[in-house]
């Protein structure tokens, strides 16, 4: 297993290099000049030229790309932000824990609501409970997040005054942004739970468990849900990865100073060091999440671990025979 983890970690290197390469090319072909952002569009041409020289923008593309890669790899230096002149790594490290916390809590909330909802729907298929929960799930999937965020703010901050409308200074400040992202994911998770459970509860081993006289909740949770978890975990992994970079709407509405908002501002200002730095961070995070998801598969379904072990045994036997 350790070998597998190391292998997967090594695979992250070409992934991150690929991300860097794509972002660099995109920054090259997008119209507009970052120097205008730095010195102002109305600055004299000689000032603009001096800034271009200082930033190395007059160097050939491959030189700039190579310089950037060398700095990132050898010094973990993601460059300085064009707008604030602060190290991008420092700026990201302030924001990343905020986004991570927002994402993890929102996924936790979504799972707590959606898994029971999906289970009940599957067990009580075509009943009014199923119809109601799937209607709610459809509502969750369909509502625009932006509108939903503003509505939660209107109801819970403006009318009821239960939670602050912006800022995350206290626990109460986290409730609305977490709820906004979390409830947005409930529909997605609940529908997957339901369809996965429907498939599982028709399997022979469920029938066998029932025939053995197991209590129904044990049949459903232990035998059913555990086997239905693989697609749910895969989906949660994807959503988690996407949310780390894509909680922009919640961050914008509730004034949460996270990575998504940071990158959005950076894109608008053509602040390429910040965009590149943010993408490197997200690529690393996404790769680690995917690795964790794969490990979770093995934990949930021992058959996958056995398959992996069996494959390794066959490989080592082949090597021994060849030797």
């Amino acid at each position: 297993m350790l070998k597998y983890i190391v292998k997967r970690l090594l695979w992250m290197i070409p992934v991150i290099l690929g991300v860097l390469c794509i972002v660099f090319v995109l920054s090259e072909i997008t119209p507009g000049d970052p120097v205008d952002t730095l010195v102002g569009a109305d600055a004299p041409p000689e000032v603009k030229e001096a800034m271009r020289e200082k930033l190395g923008l007059n160097d050939p593309v491959y030189v700039r790309f190579a310089n950037y890669i060398v700095k990132v790899v050898t010094k973990a230096d993601l460059g300085n932000s064009y707008t604030t002149n602060q190290p991008v790594a420092k700026e990201l490290m302030v924001r990343f824990p905020i986004t991570l916390k927002l994402t993890l809590w929102s996924i936790f909330v979504a799972l707590v609501i959606s898994i029971p909802l999906g289970l009940i729907s599957a067990v009580k298929r075509y009943s009014w409970i199923d119809n109601l929960s799937m209607a709610l799930a459809l509502f969750g999937v369909s509502i625009p997040q932006f509108w939903f965020g503003l509505m939660t703010m209107l109801i819970f901050s403006v009318k009821l005054k239960w939670f602050p409308a912006s800022g995350i200074d206290g626990t109460a400040g986290w409730v609305l942004p977490v709820a906004m992202i979390g409830i947005g994911n409930v529909g997605n998770f609940a529908r997957i739970t339901r369809s996965s459970m429907l498939e599982v509860i028709q399997q022979d081993y469920i029938r066998t468990a029932r025939a053995k006289g197991q209590k129904e909740w044990i049949v459903i949770v232990k035998h059913g849900l555990r086997n239905a978890l693989i697609p749910i975990v895969a989906n949660v992994g994807n959503v988690l990865g996407i949310s780390l970079g894509g909680a922009v709407i919640a961050e914008t509405i509730f004034s949460v100073n996270g990575v998504g908002k940071y990158m959005l501002d950076a894109i608008n200002a053509r602040n390429w060091p910040s965009v590149q730095g943010g993408l490197v961070l997200l690529a690393i995070s996404f790769s680690i999440i995917m690795l964790l998801v794969d490990l979770l598969y093995a934990a949930i379904d021992p058959r996958l671990k056995s398959e992996f072990k069996a494959k390794n045994k066959i490989k080592s036997r082949r090597k021994a025979v060849e030797a």
Partner: protein, 521 residues
């Protein structure tokens, strides 16, 4: 089983660690309201500042309301009278057209305790000019002839007679900094993050970039004691969210609200500040290429637009119609008196007739660039619909700010929308002065007017007598308005909403909001 436990622990640890990393406090968020005798003002601002040392950042306009808390200017602007009051300078006199002698207060100290003298005024001008980041404000000074006579007397020299200099002197870009404080605080770069060299009524406390800034009362302030113990400026980029924050009581003031939301606010609890400005919404033609290099095409387009209803619809009642490229509130504005043909009048039949006589009798297609905001989006759609009637197709191109400014400066557009807010009419005139490139003017039209116009502009620039200068401006406006290098689409008001108990909100020459002397009734 072991792996499962490990993963469960990893997930739980991730949640806990991220919670701990955020510096979480269990206490509820402090509200905007005062607590136990302390006075706190919470402001919802739309943009994160790029830095807090105004002399070396290029985008000073986004910093306006923040800069006025930290820095003082030589003179203060009175928007109600369109005049200037003493600030750090107690009095001033013109030595000649290009030299002004200012007498300064002798009790001004920077936030770090260093005394501010006339040398600091020179340092401010020098740093601003050398940084080249705020060139449009500082280029006008003749540094070689600016000098500190003694601690409280300074002579400021300009390169040429500058009738509107005081508008610039009262702008946040000209906030005075203390040289000793800048050096003690680590230089201009360090000041960007932790400013200590200002003399304003509030001192910097903290800045969570993208989230909020906190300021505390400057107890050594030379003027009237600042009212609030702390001022917190929250960065809330979404306009609807800013208003909802106000309604929920989380903030006291919301800048630039969504106009449609204002109408539903409880008027007993909230005040809407709706102030006319000297900023105009202008559509700039690119006169260097077809089709807009033909004056008849431009005139036809001008006649095809319904200015009254466009202003009403786009600004929802929070603006006014203008009939010259210099807005009505500007000192240099001259009302069209019939001595020239005014094309800013809605007349579709005349527009069609002119287009037939032009180089584009069968109509044409062009692209309209603009930075997205509710007013520009609305104006762009209205222009598109109204020009369709006379056979002109408009493609709308909402453009990101960085690309927009580059395109405007490089002439890469057919038409673009902008809202210049500079009260100095020469800044507006520069857009139509064919001797100044689009690059230099940061946009404009590339239109080359008659030689008579060049002479009039030169003459106005050196005429210090207001009435004589305005008479020249009248002629300048006649020539420019008749040739229609741009469309004037109304002036928008500066709008903010705040709790009804707030008073003392001021407006700056550039229509920025100054909360530094704000208090509760």
């Amino acid at each position: 089983m072991k792996m499962k436990k490990i993963l469960a622990v990893v997930f739980a640890a991730a949640i806990l660690l991220s919670t701990a990393a955020c510096g979480q406090k269990a206490a509820p968020a402090p509200s905007a309201a005062s607590t136990k005798g302390t006075q706190k003002l919470v402001v919802a601002h739309k943009a994160n500042p790029t830095g807090l040392f105004h002399l070396t950042i290029n985008n000073v306009s986004a910093n306006g309301p923040i800069d006025y808390l930290i820095y003082d200017t030589l003179v203060a602007y009175d928007s109600t009278k369109d005049s200037f009051n003493p600030s750090i300078a107690t009095k001033w006199e013109y030595i000649d057209d290009t030299h002004i002698k200012f007498t300064l207060r002798n009790d001004v100290v920077a936030h770090d305790g260093n005394k501010v003298t006339a040398k600091d005024v020179i340092y401010t001008l020098k740093t601003g000019q050398e940084s080249n980041k705020v060139a449009n404000y500082y280029d006008r000074f003749n540094l070689a002839e600016c000098k500190a006579v003694d601690d409280t007397t300074v002579i400021i020299a300009t390169k040429q007679a500058d009738p509107y200099l005081f508008y610039t002197l009262a702008n946040n870009a000209l906030g005075i900094v203390c040289e000793a404080a800048v050096k003690a605080g680590g230089g201009p770069d360090a000041q960007q993050q932790k400013p200590t060299a200002g003399t304003g009524p509030y001192k910097f406390v903290s800045w969570e970039s993208g989230s909020k800034l906190v300021f505390a009362r400057n107890d050594k302030y030379w003027g009237e004691k600042p009212y609030f113990d702390t001022i917190e400026v929250r960065i809330i980029t979404d306009a609807s969210a800013r208003v909802m924050n106000l309604e929920s009581g989380d903030v006291d003031v919301a800048f630039d609200p969504v106009v449609s939301q204002i109408k539903s606010l409880d008027t007993k609890k909230f005040t809407v500040e709706n102030v006319k400005t000297k900023a105009s919404n202008i559509a700039f033609f690119n006169c260097t290429k077809a089709p807009f290099n033909d004056v008849k095409v431009r005139q036809a387009v001008a006649l095809a637009l319904d200015y009254e209803s466009n202003a009403q619809v786009s600004m929802e009642g929070y603006g006014y119609v203008t009939d010259s490229f210099i807005p009505n509130l500007n000192q240099a504005y001259a009302k069209p008196d019939g001595s020239y043909t005014n094309y800013y009048k809605y007349n579709v039949e005349e527009a069609k007739k002119l287009l037939k006589e032009s180089s584009q009798p069968n109509g044409f297609t062009f692209t309209l660039k603009y930075m997205e905001n509710s007013i520009f989006t609305s104006l762009a759609q209205l222009i598109q619909n109204q020009l369709k009637v006379i056979g002109i197709t408009v493609n709308l191109a909402p453009t990101a700010s960085s690309v927009f400014y580059t395109d405007a400066s490089n002439g890469n557009f057919d038409m673009y929308l902008a809202a210049p807010s500079n009260p100095d009419p020469f800044v507006l005139v520069n857009y139509f002065d064919g001797r100044i490139s689009m690059q230099k003017a940061s946009g404009g039209t590339g239109w080359r007017g008659p030689a008579e116009l060049d002479a009039l502009i030169d003459q106005a620039k050196v005429t210090m007598d207001k009435d004589a200068r305005n008479a020249i401006f009248k002629k300048i406006q006649a020539i420019i308005n008749e040739n229609v290098p741009c469309l004037v689409l109304g002036s928008q008001n500066r709008v903010l909403v705040c709790k009804s108990d707030l008073t003392g909100i001021r407006y700056t020459p550039f229509s920025d909001i100054d909360l530094s002397h704000c208090s509760r009734k």
